[in-house]
C-alpha cells in the first residue's frame, strides 16, 4: 500500500497529491517541442569546432588559410584571436579557470582548438577538416596519484607562484583527532577502497546554443541548453563586458540535463565571440562524440574509507580520505564553500559518533569537470562508499546487513540529527523504509533461496542500500555559486478572471515544472492547475534564480512558489474582508475561498477576489494580486530510502542479471505522485547504468575510449530492470509544503544496492568489494581467479 499525501484539493483543482497529467506533454508527443536545434533565426550561420587529437601538446602553429578559402566559410577563431580580447580563459563555476581556446598548449584529447563559422552546417563541417594545426606532443599525465607526486610535471603553470603543482585544493570536515581516537579505541576497523569512475550524463539531446548579437541595439540574445540561465547571464556579462541588461538568456525546451548542462562550455563563448564579430546569429550544436569527449564529466573519485566498530556491531566512527581527479580544470559546479560538494554527508543514515573526511583535488590531462551525474554535489560518491562499507562491516562482524543497518540507523526520535560533519538532518524514519523494503521483497525467503543455490554452486546475491540524500542547496549563510547565494525565486500574478501565471528561477529539463509548480499554486490558492501558466528559462522575464540541479527545484523554488502564494493569499484575505464586510481575522481559508467563520454561506472564491483586486479593491490598497518570493532555505532537506536488489550471476560469462529491485523512497510530501514515480524510475536507471555498463576510460595516451554510443553503453529497455516502487512519507519540518525533492535520490541510492548484491553473491569466495562498472569481464576475472570460472 503506497503511502499517500492527504489531499486538500479536488481533482479539478489538482493541488498536491494529485497525479495530474503533464501540461507540457501535448507539444512533445506531437513533435512540437522546441529544442535548441529546432530554433532557426534569420540570417543564421553555423559554427563547428576543430579539436585536438592529443591529450597534451604544444600548438606550434595553426594554418587556417585553406579553410578560409572554402565556400561559405566566414571566420576561423583561434586562441590567439581570443587572447587579444582577453577571452582565451574563462572562469569555471568552481572558481578555477578554463581555456576557451588554447593559445599554446592543449590539455586533453578533443579539446577545442579553433572555431570555424560558415554559412551552413555542412560547410562548417568540411572546413574544420582543412584547419591544419601543428602539434608537438607532450608527456601525458593521467593518473591523479602520479599527478600529486612532488616531481610530477606541473600541468597548470598559470596558477600563482605558490601553486606550482597539480594540487587544486584540500578540503576537510569533522574532527580528525577525535575520529582517530574513536577508531583507535574500536574493536575492529574495516577499511575499503572504492573507485567511482568517470561517467557522463549523456542526455539524449547534446548541448548547443545560438548567440545572436545585434550590433545596432548592442544586445545579445543567447539561446542555450542551460540548467541555470541566470547564472549564465551573469557569467557572460562578467566575461564579455556586455551589460547584463543587454543580455537575454533563453533556454527553450531542454532534452535532459542531469548536471551536464550546468557548466558554461568553451563552444558557447566561441559562438558569442563569433556573433559579436560577424553581427549574425551563430549556431553551434555538439555532436555526440564532442559531448562525450569534451563536456564536463562526473565523478572520478578515489575513496579510501575506514569504519570503526565494536564487537557487537555498533559503529564508532568513520575516517575517509579521497583523491578527486578533476582533469585539467576544476569545472565542477559545487558551492564555493564545498569544493568536494556535499561529500561529507558520507556518515549516511547511521548514528555516527565521530567522523573525519578529507578530499584533495588533482589536475590531470583529461577533460575538466566534476559536475553531477544526476546527483546533488558528490552525494553519490558518499552514499556508495558508506553503503558498501556498512555491508562489508556487517559481514566482518558476522551480522546480516539488514540487521546491522537496523541496529545502527539514526532513530526516528533522534531527528533533527546533527552529524559529526556538520549537517542537521531534518527528518527521517529509516527503520520504517527498510522494513517496508524487506517485506516487499520477501527478504528471509531470498536468503534461504540463496543458501540453497550457493550449496549447488549457483551465484545469487542480495544487496541493500539505505541512503540519505542531501538536497535543496541552499541556505545563504553557506551556499553560493561564484558568490551568488543559492536562493531561488517565484513570481506569481493572479489575473482579473482568476487564472494566474507563475514565473520561476529554476529550469525544467524534463522534471515537469509546468505541471508541478501549477499544482503548488493550485494547492495554495485553489486556482485550478489548468489555469496556472508556468514560465521559466527567459532571463528577461523570469525572476533571478540559480537553476535546476542537485534536486533543488522543489526545496527552493517550490518553497518560493508556496510562500509567494501565501503572500497573495494574505492580500486576498484583506480584499475578501472588504468584499464580505468582515474583519480579516474572522475569515477562514478552505478549498480556494475565504469564508466568514460561522457563516458558511458568506464566502468569496479566489476568482471573485482576483476580479475585485482589479475592479473593486479597498481604498488605499494597491491594485492587483501578485507576489514575489526569493526563498532562502533555512536548512537543506534530507530525502532517504531503502533499496534492495537481487542479482543472478552467470558463472560462465560473468554476466550480472538484476532479477528484482525494490525501491522504497521517502521524499516528504508529494506534489504529483505520477511524476515522482517517473523521477524514481529514471533515477534508478541512471544508478543501474554506471553500476553495470557506463564508464569513460582513457588509453595510455589519454584517448577517450567511449567517445560514441557504440562504446558508452547506455542501458536499453532490454537490460533495464522492472523497478518496483513504494513510499514512506516523512515531511520536511522546515519546508513550507513539507516536500524534500526527489530527482536524484534513486541515482544516488541505487548503485550500492547493486554492488552489494554482486559482492554478496561472491562474498563466500572472499570478495570484499568490486569497483563499478561491474562488467562481465571483470566479474569473470574474479571468478577465474577464485577458481570458479
Amino acid at each position: 500500500m503506497t503511502a499517500e499525501t492527504e489531499l486538500q484539493t479536488t481533482p479539478e483543482v489538482g493541488g498536491m497529491g494529485h497525479s495530474k497529467k503533464r501540461k507540457e506533454d501535448p507539444r512533445f508527443i506531437r513533435g512540437q517541442g522546441e529544442y535548441i536545434e529546432d530554433v532557426v533565426l534569420p540570417n543564421m550561420v553555423w559554427m563547428d569546432i576543430v579539436r585536438s587529437p592529443y591529450a597534451h601538446a604544444k600548438i606550434k602553429s595553426i594554418d587556417a588559410s585553406e579553410a578560409l578559402a572554402m565556400p561559405g566559410v566566414l571566420a576561423v577563431i583561434t586562441g590567439k584571436d581570443l587572447e587579444k580580447a582577453g577571452l582565451h580563459w574563462m572562469p569555471t563555476l568552481a572558481g578555477d579557470k578554463q581555456m576557451v581556446l588554447p593559445v599554446d598548449t592543449v590539455m586533453y584529447q578533443a579539446q577545442e582548438v579553433a572555431a570555424v563559422v560558415a554559412e551552413t552546417r555542412y560547410q562548417a563541417a568540411d572546413a574544420i577538416q582543412a584547419v591544419y594545426v601543428d602539434y608537438e606532443p607532450l608527456p601525458v599525465l593521467l593518473d591523479p596519484f602520479e599527478a600529486m607526486q612532488p616531481d610530477a610535471q606541473v600541468l597548470r603553470p598559470d596558477r600563482g607562484p605558490d601553486k606550482q603543482n597539480n594540487h587544486i585544493w584540500h578540503w576537510e570536515s569533522g574532527d580528525r583527532a577525535a575520529t582517530d581516537a574513536a577508531l583507535a579505541a574500536s574493536d575492529k576497523v574495516v577499511p575499503i577502497d572504492v573507485y567511482i569512475p568517470r561517467i557522463h550524463v549523456a542526455s539524449i539531446e547534446t548541448c548547443g546554443c545560438i548567440a545572436d548579437f545585434d550590433p545596432v541595439r548592442g544586445h545579445l540574445d543567447f539561446h542555450v541548453t542551460s540548467q541555470a540561465p541566470h547564472v549564465y547571464r551573469t557569467v557572460i556579462s562578467l566575461v564579455s563586458g556586455v551589460p547584463e541588461s543587454n543580455i537575454r538568456v533563453k533556454t527553450h525546451d531542454i532534452g535532459g540535463g542531469f548536471g551536464g548542462k550546468v557548466p558554461v562550455y568553451p563552444g558557447y563563448v566561441c559562438a558569442i565571440v563569433a556573433s559579436l564579430t560577424l553581427g549574425r546569429p551563430v549556431k553551434w550544436i555538439e555532436d555526440r562524440s564532442e559531448n562525450l569527449q569534451a563536456d564536463s564529466f562526473a565523478r572520478d573519485y578515489h575513496v579510501h574509507a575506514e569504519l570503526g566498530l565494536t564487537d557487537d556491531g555498533t559503529i564508532t566512527g568513520l575516517r575517509v580520505k579521497t583523491l578527486a581527479d578533476h582533469g585539467y580544470s576544476d569545472a565542477a559546479a559545487d558551492p564555493s564553500a564545498f569544493p568536494a560538494g556535499l561529500f561529507n554527508v558520507i556518515t549516511g543514515s547511521y548514528q555516527m559518533p565521530q567522523a573525519f573526511v578529507e578530499v584533495d583535488g588533482a589536475y590531470t590531462n583529461k577533460p575538466p569537470g566534476g559536475v553531477a551525474y544526476r546527483c546533488s554535489f558528490r552525494v553519490t560518491e558518499a552514499v556508495q562508499t558508506i553503503e558498501q562499507l556498512v555491508d562489508l562491516a556487517a559481514r566482518e562482524v558476522g551480522m546480516d546487513p539488514a540487521a546491522f543497518r537496523m541496529k545502527n540507523f539514526i532513530r526516528k526520535d533522534q531527528f533533527p540529527y546533527h552529524t559529526p560533519t556538520g549537517w542537521d538532518y531534518d527528518s527521517g524514519d529509516y527503520h520504517a523504509a527498510l522494513q517496508k523494503a524487506l517485506d516487499m521483497i520477501g527478504y528471509d525467503d531470498l536468503r534461504k533461496e540463496q543458501a540453497e543455490k550457493r550449496a549447488r554452486g549457483e551465484l545469487m546475491g542480495i544487496g541493500i542500500s539505505s541512503f540519505t540524500e542531501i538536497v535543496g542547496a541552499g541556505p545563504s549563510h553557506t551556499f553560493d555559486l561564484i558568490g551568488i547565494k543559492m536562493f531561488d525565486s517565484a513570481e506569481i500574478r493572479v489575473h482579473p478572471t482568476g487564472s494566474a501565471i507563475i514565473r520561476i528561477g529554476v529550469q525544467t529539463q524534463g522534471q515537469g515544472h509546468e505541471t508541478t509548480f501549477a499544482q503548488i499554486v493550485a494547492e495554495e490558492l485553489g486556482i485550478p492547475m489548468d489555469k496556472v501558466k508556468v514560465e521559466y528559462g527567459d532571463t528577461d522575464t523570469a525572476p533571478y534564480g540559480l537553476g535546476t540541479y542537485a534536486s533543488r527545484s522543489t526545496p527552493t523554488a517550490g518553497a518560493a512558489a508556496s510562500v509567494a502564494s501565501r503572500k497573495i493569499r494574505e492580500k486576498a484575505r484583506l480584499i475578501a474582508a472588504h468584499l464580505l464586510e468582515a474583519a480579516p481575522d474572522d475569515l477562514e481559508w478552505t478549498n480556494g475561498k475565504f469564508t466568514v467563520k460561522g457563516s458558511p454561506d458568506r464566502s468569496k472564491t479566489i476568482a471573485e477576489i482576483a476580479f475585485a483586486a482589479y475592479t473593486n479593491h479597498p481604498q488605499g490598497m494597491e491594485a492587483g494580486l501578485e507576489a514575489t518570493d526569493y526563498y532562502d532555505p533555512p536548512n537543506l532537506t534530507f530525502p532517504f530510502g531503502s533499496y534492495i536488489c537481487v542479482v543472478d550471476i552467470d558463472k560462465a560469462t560473468g554476466q550480472v542479471k538484476v532479477r528484482r529491485f525494490v525501491a522504497v523512497d521517502d521524499c516528504g510530501n508529494i506534489i504529483n505522485p505520477m511524476i515522482v514515480d517517473g523521477q524514481i524510475h529514471g533515477g534508478l536507471t541512471m544508478g543501474f547504468a554506471p553500476a553495470l555498463y557506463e564508464s569513460i576510460t582513457y588509453d595510455e595516451l589519454g584517448n577517450n575510449q567511449a567517445g560514441t554510443f557504440m562504446d558508452y553503453l547506455i542501458p536499453t529497455a532490454v537490460e533495464t530492470p522492472r523497478w518496483e516502487l513504494e513510499k514512506t512519507i516523512t515531511p520536511s519540518p522546515h519546508h513550507p509544503i513539507g516536500a524534500k525533492g526527489v530527482g536524484e535520490s534513486a541515482t544516488v541510492g541505487a548503485p550500492p544496492a547493486i554492488v552489494n548484491a554482486v559482492v554478496d553473491a561472491l562474498s563466500h569466495l572472499g570478495v570484499r568489494t568490486i569497483d563499478i562498472p561491474m562488467t562481465p569481464q571483470k566479474i569473470w576475472a574474479i571468478l577465474h581467479e577464485k577458481g570458479v570460472a
Binding site: P53, Q109, I128, G707, T708, M710
Partner: protein
C-alpha cells in the same frame, strides 16, 4: 603500442642500411605512401593514405632520421597528422649478420602512438592494423632489396 620483430634479408648490411635510410627507396614501402618530399638528408615529408579496407585517412607525416650509425643502427621518428587524428612513432633498427653469410638480420622495434578520433572510435582495430602495416612495410623492404640487388 610496442612492436618488434626480426627480418632476414639476403643482402649486405651496407645495402640494407643504404636502402632504409633513403627516403625515395624506403618511401615506397611505407603504408599507403602517395608522395615523398625530401627536405634535407635526414628530414622527409610523406603523404599517405592509410587504413584497412576502404576505411582510410590521409596523413601528412614528417619523418626524421634522428640518429644513425651506418651501417649498424638508425632511429627514425615519425609524426603524422590527419584531421582529428595523429600518429607518432619511434622506430629503432639494428642490423646484424644474418644466419647465412652475406645476409643481414634487421632487428626492429617500434613504439607507435595513435591519438585522436581514430584511437577513440577505432580502438578495437588499431593495434591489429598497426601491427599488420609494420609487417607489410618490412616485407616490402625485404622484397625491394632482393629485387634491386
Amino acid at each position: 603500442m610496442e612492436f618488434s620483430g626480426a627480418v632476414d634479408i639476403p643482402a649486405s648490411r651496407e645495402q640494407v642500411f643504404a636502402f632504409v635510410t633513403d627516403p625515395n627507396k624506403v618511401g615506397g614501402c611505407g603504408p599507403g605512401v602517395e608522395s615523398i618530399e625530401v627536405i634535407d638528408p635526414t628530414h622527409f615529408r610523406a603523404k599517405a593514405k592509410v587504413g584497412v579496407g576502404f576505411i582510410t585517412a590521409r596523413f601528412v607525416v614528417d619523418l626524421e632520421i634522428a640518429e644513425q650509425q651506418p651501417p649498424d643502427m638508425a632511429i627514425i621518428k615519425a609524426h603524422g597528422q590527419a584531421p582529428g587524428s595523429a600518429v607518432d612513432a619511434l622506430g629503432r633498427m639494428n642490423l646484424v649478420d644474418g644466419p647465412e653469410p652475406g645476409t643481414t638480420t634487421m632487428l626492429w622495434a617500434a613504439e607507435v602512438s595513435i591519438s585522436g578520433m581514430i584511437a577513440s572510435v577505432g580502438s578495437r582495430l588499431v593495434e591489429g592494423t598497426a601491427n599488420k602495416m609494420i609487417g607489410q612495410t618490412f616485407d616490402c623492404v625485404r622484397a625491394k632489396i632482393v629485387a634491386g640487388r
